[in-house]
């Protein structure tokens, strides 16, 4: 075991894994995290704690992760390259592990232009690929990036990365996934899947290259509450693919929330049947309370004993 995290155990046991997002608040109220943690407690194999998502300032992902741990929920700590240099990242990794984190998700991070401080300077001292390699080096070679030894208590982390099958250039996305695996990724979370056909085509290429045997792939899924959310993602979020049928379906829905849940449940069934998919990652942006409902209705509860 690399980290002995629950997520790692579930995946290595060959069980279909479930993680879900937990977004920290834009204030310093720990109760928000505690409340959201209750939705996830016992229902997921990892609570993915976002790191100033879309470049909007929120409570630190590591602090929120520590609170989640105190509630009995195992976090997947997100770490973006936008806000910290290699010194701060390595320092925060040591701190996160000291606080009990066992999973780390490495991302480049949304550009600050999308957030509430577009005037900020970004860092990107290392990129997501280099971050993955750095964490692996700390864990497996017991060395900092500089080569200095970590004499004891090296950070034992299950290393996650993201890939977006819907971004361009399409063929290169599989090459880039292979590159992330080579850099050291243990599991992959994908961008939200709405376009199941494109996702399946991507997964076919992934399977053809045998990459699904080298890394666990969790399909990202987002339940939406309204057609507006779909429009927003289609028009404002780069690298998203939202089929028109889906928009029509949400448009004509009598109860959009229920329709959104139904679509998500159908997606879960579909991705389950795609070869090479090891689990799902739910991203109910700001709608964490729906996570247990969806998982119950998808027969993904209770979670397996590992």
């Amino acid at each position: 075991m690399k980290s002995a995290s629950r997520l790692e155990k579930v995946l290595t046991a060959g069980e279909f894994a479930v993680t879900a997002e937990l977004g920290p608040p834009q204030n310093s109220n720990p109760e928000v995290i505690k409340k959201k943690a209750q939705y996830l407690l016992g229902n997921v194999d990892g609570a993915n704690i976002t790191d100033n998502q879309t470049a909007v300032v929120r409570m630190s992902s590591i602090a929120a992760a520590a609170i989640a741990i105190s509630c009995g929920v195992e976090p997947v700590v997100q770490m973006v390259c936008r806000d910290r240099n290699r010194i701060a990242i390595q320092s925060d990794i040591l701190g996160a592990v000291a606080l009990g984190a066992k999973n780390l998700l490495c991302l480049s991070g949304d550009h600050q232009k999308f957030g509430n401080h577009p005037e900020a300077m970004n860092v990107f001292d290392v990129d997501s690929m280099q971050l993955i390699a750095m964490v692996k080096k700390m864990r497996d070679d017991k060395q900092f990036l500089s080569g200095d030894p970590i004499k004891e208590y090296e950070p034992k982390l299950f290393i996650g990365a993201v890939e977006n099958p819907f971004a361009d250039p399409f063929e290169f996305r599989v090459m880039r996934l292979a590159k992330k695996i080579r850099a050291g990724a243990d599991f992959i979370q994908t961008q939200c899947v709405f376009d199941i056909d494109k996702f399946s085509r991507w997964m076919e290429l992934v399977v053809k290259e045998g990459l699904h045997k080298q890394v666990y792939i969790l399909a990202g899924l987002t339940p939406v509450r309204s057609v507006r959310a779909l429009h927003y993602m289609k028009n404002e979020v780069a690298g998203m693919s939202i089929p028109d049928e889906l928009i029509k379906r949400m448009e004509s829905a009598q109860e959009p929330k229920e329709e959104g849940v139904k679509i998500c449940l159908e997606m879960i069934e579909k991705v389950k049947n795609v070869e090479g998919v090891s689990g799902i990652h739910l991203m109910p942006i700001g709608w964490e309370s729906i996570t247990p409902v969806i998982l119950e209705r998808a027969n993904l509860l209770p979670r397996p004993e590992v």
Partner: protein
């Protein structure tokens, strides 16, 4: 070349509001080519300033001059005497020109009239685009000639990020995703293998992180 853009007129007027006689110092180098700082630009700016100051009832005298390059002593030295006669110099050269003036002809204060933007070239008539950020360790060799440092909003070495869509950058649909360009060019050159290597973190000491950079050309030092 170095590309610069004129500061807003109000900002310029404010920066010279205390002076009655200034020198408007253009530059015959890069900024002439990008229209922001040549003798023509100087003539236009001088008349705008004079008009505005006349309206305010505070006339101003302006001496215009355009050395071949403002960033070399030999071209600005001849202006020494004129400088003594003015209260300030308004420079419409790049930031290097402004500093050459300040250090070499400190008799008068030199104020910038341009915002220096980047190193780039005109991709079409009257449109300049950034190409190089002077990072000090060029990677164009393996990127197929496209710079990920000056042109990628995240300075990625292992791009493209997940926001690359239809060849455009996630930050702005008017900006091409340089990683798409890198990919396409390497594909054309049959060198996509260049992108399968995990590129390690850059040593930023070669860039602006280790204090002022200097280059000494030993062979020329006699």
């Amino acid at each position: 070349m170095i590309v610069a853009d004129r500061k807003p007129l109000d900002e310029i007027l404010d920066s010279i509001k205390d002076y009655k006689k200034i020198m408007l110092m253009a530059c015959g180098g890069c900024v002439t080519v990008c229209f922001s700082g040549g003798s023509k630009a100087a003539g236009l700016l001088a008349s705008q300033i004079k008009m505005a100051r006349k309206k305010q009832g505070k006339a101003i005298e302006i001496i215009e001059c355009t050395p071949e390059r403002q960033c070399e002593y030999e071209f600005i030295d001849e202006l020494k005497n004129d400088i003594e006669s003015v209260e300030a110099v308004l420079s419409i050269a790049c930031g290097v020109g402004v500093q050459t003036m300040s250090e070499h002809l400190p008799q008068a204060i030199t104020i910038p009239g341009l915002n220096t933007k980047f190193m780039g070239y005109p991709v079409e008539h009257a449109l300049w685009e950034e190409r190089c950020a002077g990072c000090g360790d060029c990677v164009l060799g393996w990127t197929g000639g496209y710079c990920p440092i000056a042109r990628c909003a995240k300075k990625l070495f292992n791009g493209p990020c997940g926001g690359s869509s239809d060849g455009k950058c996630e930050v702005d649909k008017d900006i091409e995703c340089v990683w798409q360009l890198i990919h396409d060019r390497l594909k054309q050159l049959n060198k996509l293998d260049n992108l399968t290597v995990v590129r390690g973190p850059k040593d930023w000491r070669t860039s602006t992180n280790a204090g002022q950079r200097k280059i000494k050309f030993e062979e020329a030092m006699l």
